[in-house]
Amino acid sequence: MTTAPAQAGWRFRQPSVIPGFGLTLGFSLAYLTLIILIPLSGLVWRSAALGWTDFWAIVADRRTLNALKISFGTAFIAAAVNVVFGTIVAWVLVRYRFPGRRIADAMVDLPFALPTAVAGIALTTLYAPNGWIGQLLMPLGIKVAYTPLGIVVALVFIGLPFVVRTVQPIMEEIDREVEEAAASLGASRFQIITRVLFPGLAPAIITGFALAFARGVGEYGSVIFIAGNLPFKSEIAPLLIVIRLEEYNYEAATAIAAIMLALSFVMLLVVNLAQTWSRKRYG
């Protein structure tokens, strides 16, 4: 440990014998600026240049509003589904021993590894009216492919690992003695799960929800195949950006992108607050 002289005035970095600070930080900052910061600030600059009235006219357009509603709504539902099933999957993987557990565990990462376009055409084929799952749902009157429900299915696929991989390590760390103590004091298994285990898992579950939600809002590749892409019905916001770009309507594309970024940012902020709250409440 390097012990810096107490309060030797403000210094940018603490002294160290290790070389290469200037070189590595300089290169990292330059690369970050060129690849990420300049292009992103270009987006902010372009949307600021639009002016408030133009910006508002684009965002308040009925088609834009519907696309945003569909993107955020389906992402919310999919993240909620993943919270329920992802938590069950994580629990089964952590607590139960069964043959093939390692394979099941590895499979959870498939949505990270499988290109989204592949997932998109595979899910569409499965859920199309003549697909393996689609034809089972058809007699029940449930149409998945080419409807908003299809978007939810695609986003459930995309978001699953975010919930499982966030909740799983926290479950692994649970001290079994806490459960034993609760059991020896007469708590039922249900009480232990809801009153003892759940509060400890709540922050991780909220984080998993937020990650799955944020990813779902911006998802494009897997959704466009299964959604049907009908304006006002199953057209997601990222697709509308692409459509506006193809019409050379850079202003509209920029405005929709800016509002999406802003909404996602607000969302993450709310989730951060919720997390702090749940840590305080249960921590």
Binding site: I18, I35, G42, V108, L114, P115, P238
Partner: protein, 294 residues
């Protein structure tokens, strides 16, 4: 650990173990739910890719893969990954060295900025380059005057890929190098090694498995990226079509065998990635850092 006194408590422990797990029916329901969910959402999509690719026999599968457009899409995807992955490896190592080995002001902020591309929609990642380099873009006129082509060409595809895969290597290496501390490097330096030798013979061997893990994930994403690349590519057949974009074109032309044949290659890549990832986690789990994630 193997304290005989603790052993004597085991009967009590045993009697309690029934109370700290779910009853048999609940366990079966939970496992059944998890299995059905994983089978429907993960296994079936994977199976359907190979099923559809081979639906008309091995002959038409091979034929689909042998078409010139498919072959040029494969070549372009390999080229883009071969450029963007090393770039992000160099950045990842450099950023991890600066962040993990030194204490400086604004470090937390810098770490947050590195993760930024993960929270941006792929479409927006492509859009920012169109706004910069497009005909109506900030640099559009200047690029045109100098005859430089970035958009709807390979440089644009590489840039968009670099953007979306930007954090992968850095976010594996930073926590790992932070956990390992500076002791080894300080020892090497005090024994007279120079900076490069310290990195090459001390740091790199310490982080090699974590680095490989990051490269694996970075590569999978680089080869599979769709949204960002789709926005900047212009979809010129045989020229700016990567494999995922080619899948889309074939699929929209109702060439199911062709689309799924190319998709099966990408699915194979995903499976290889998962197997290698799992092997790395099993064998070198401790050396890959505790923070697992995407």
């Amino acid at each position: 650990m193997a304290d005989p006194e603790i052993k004597s408590y085991e009967p009590l422990h045993e009697s309690l173990s029934a109370a700290v797990t779910e009853s048999r029916p609940v366990r079966w329901v939970a496992m059944g739910t998890a299995f059905v969910f994983l089978a429907v959402f993960l296994l079936l999509p994977l199976i359907v890719v190979f099923h559809e690719a081979l639906a008309k026999g091995v002959g038409s599968y091979a034929e689909a893969l042998a078409s010139p457009d498919t072959r040029s899409a494969i070549r372009l995807t390999l080229l883009v990954a071969a450029i963007s992955v090393p770039l992000n490896v160099i950045f990842g190592i450099s950023a991890a060295w600066a962040i993990a080995k030194f204490e400086f002001k604004g470090k937390a902020f810098l770490t947050t900025l590195i993760d930024l591309p993960f929270s941006v929609s792929p479409v927006i990642s492509g859009l920012v380059y169109v706004l910069l380099f497009g005909a109506q873009g900030l640099l559009g006129e200047w690029l045109k005057a100098h005859g430089i082509v970035i958009l709807f060409a390979v440089p644009g595809i590489v840039l968009a890929t670099v953007f979306v895969t930007f954090p992968f290597v850095a976010r594996e290496l930073i926590p790992l190098m932070q956990e390992q501390g500076n002791g080894d490097e300080e020892a090497a330096l005090s024994l007279g090694a120079n900076g490069w030798q310290t990195f090459r013979y001390v740091t790199l061997p310490n982080v090699k498995w974590g680095l490989l893990y990051g490269v694996l994930l970075c590569n999978a994403r680089a080869m599979g990226e769709f949204g960002a690349v789709s926005v900047v590519s212009g979809h010129i057949r045989g020229l700016t079509n990567t494999m995922p974009l080619h899948v889309e074109i074939l699929y929209n032309e109702y060439n199911a065998v062709g689309a799924f044949a190319v998709a099966s290659l990408l699915a194979g890549l995903a499976l290889v990635t998962l197997v290698l990832k799992t092997l790395l986690e099993m064998r070198y789990g401790a050396e890959i850092a505790a923070t697992r994630g995407h």
